[in-house]
Amino acid sequence: MKMRGYVLRKLGQTVLTIFVVLVFNFFLFRIMPGNPVRILIRNPKISAEALQRITEQFGLNQSKFVQFGYYLRDLFTGDLGHSFVYRKPVLDVIMEKLPPTLLLTGTATILSIIIGVILGVIFAWKRGSKLDVAGLSLSLVLYSMPSFWVGILMVMLFAVYWPIFPIGGMSVPGTYYATIWSQLGSLLRHMLLPTVTFALILIGEYVLIMRNSLLEVMSEDYMLTARAKGVSNRNLLRRHALPNAMLPMVTLIAMNLGFIVGGAIQVETVFSWPGLGRLMYTALMGRDYPLLQGIFLFVTVCVVGANFCADLLYRYLDPRVKS
């Protein structure tokens, strides 16, 4: 019963958030001075019928409320508009570019969480040692680097200076792969550099948070109790400290989803990875507003949804959270 109330409340918040994002998006692209629709109409070269079509599509001759209604109707029917650059429905373009992004970000995120948690635990356990100090400094430096710049360094080092890996992309254009294995191998070779870059960007923060969170937990009274009980170091960590220390990590991972999207834009741009992030850069450069708006909405809704899931997970992990 309590659980249901909690889920309902969180769901309500999520829906509210998405609604606000929709309104915000509408405001941004339709109402703000210099908004793309107005720019579209002002275009002197625009044909009369095109103007007519646009006016009808956006309900421009009607009140703002009606326009908002048109906008919502379009959204719910999956009509995110038409891309100027690709000359295709925006949703189709997004769906096409989604799998490479999921592949890259998913791999990098999982990798960075695993490595980050392990390193954080090691540093916390050996706090004050040379290893800890070195690890901490490196994490701080990684955390301070612009993500795209890490990518540029990686490309310069491993694709230009020592050309071990391809400079970018997901495959060599125009190549025919004889077997699925050779195709997979090529994919892996293309993927390695961006994945490592992406993971490096994320690891710094995970290490820092995991280390601090674990140190905090280790200074708690119940850890003293556990030590007094004669619990072995291994179990002290595994069964007493980690379950508590992982809680802030869950929050952080959820909070970081937005950051991951930001990382994807930068890494994909640097490595010409054919995903959503690079698509956004293309849309920005080409001032392809419908596409830009579509990506922004799509990505935001995904992140908000993922946050909702993280909230539920947190509730499951921490028995103290009451509804």
């Binding site: 109790t225 007493h240 921490d318 103290r320």
Partner: protein, 325 residues
Amino acid sequence: MTLLEVNDLTTYYKLKEGRVRACEGVSLRLEKGEALGLVGESASGKTTVALSLIKLLPENASIAGGSIKLDGKELVTAAEEEMRKIRWKEISIIFQGAMNALNPVRTVGDQIAETLKIHDKLTDREAWQRTRALFEKVEIDPDRVREYPHEFSGGMRQRAMIAMAIACNPRLVIGDEPTTALDVMVQAQVLQLLQQLREEIEMGLILITHDLSVVGETCDKVAVMYAGQIAEYGPTEEVFTRPAHPYTRALIAAFPDIEGERALASSIPGNPPNLLYPPPGCRFHERCSEAKPLCREAQPRTININNHHYASCHLLDRQVKSCRA
């Protein structure tokens, strides 16, 4: 038979500013099944003594000297691996705030069963069975073993801590302010429970508290600590009826007694010294109404007043007196 013998225990904390002499030259003796009260005001070093006994001091603290013998076995030099076996099996401890002393994300029963599995090598089933029995012993509904600490009331959490402390039938239980945060009635219940358990299983008890009445209620012997040192030590009745040290006397006088006269006692002037820079001579001399010039210069010896009753005060020292005469 002597269960625990502490001689000249000295523990220092290292801070940037210097050494905090939190516990210096502490000597105690506990017979089997006996209860000893360790009384002192805040920052008098009582908790440091407790943590030294099980060697769970914070990283910046270390035992600088003295010996701790449990059944004749030296603990100060014992290796961590050895201590781990001794902890809880031989010496267990009840901490002050039971809310923080229990792991919030694991069930209470799980935390008790864990100790049984570690030390008594019980199977999962046996451990949970014992846990339920322990719950009954401390008067908690055994069906609540699967609940989390936050679902328990303050009194129940302290009972659960006690259940955990006696789980492996240790020979010595250290209670660090076990009743402090509790309401009077619950405090009484917990004290009564401790007393019952002590009669049932023959365990030694070291009760650390700032509350004289708790000691009077449960302990055979009492040690009064002041500024990291033991001021007076002896049988509870003897110390409370014929306190020898001026500090003990002032402390007892300050305790309101509803059967005594209805008048406010005078308080002890001043504050306890900063243990980074303890005063020379007797550490109490700055607040002592009877201090003599000598008290400012020399540390007092421990004087045996009579049978097992000791105090460290120049005023009791016959040698000092005779020198004067």
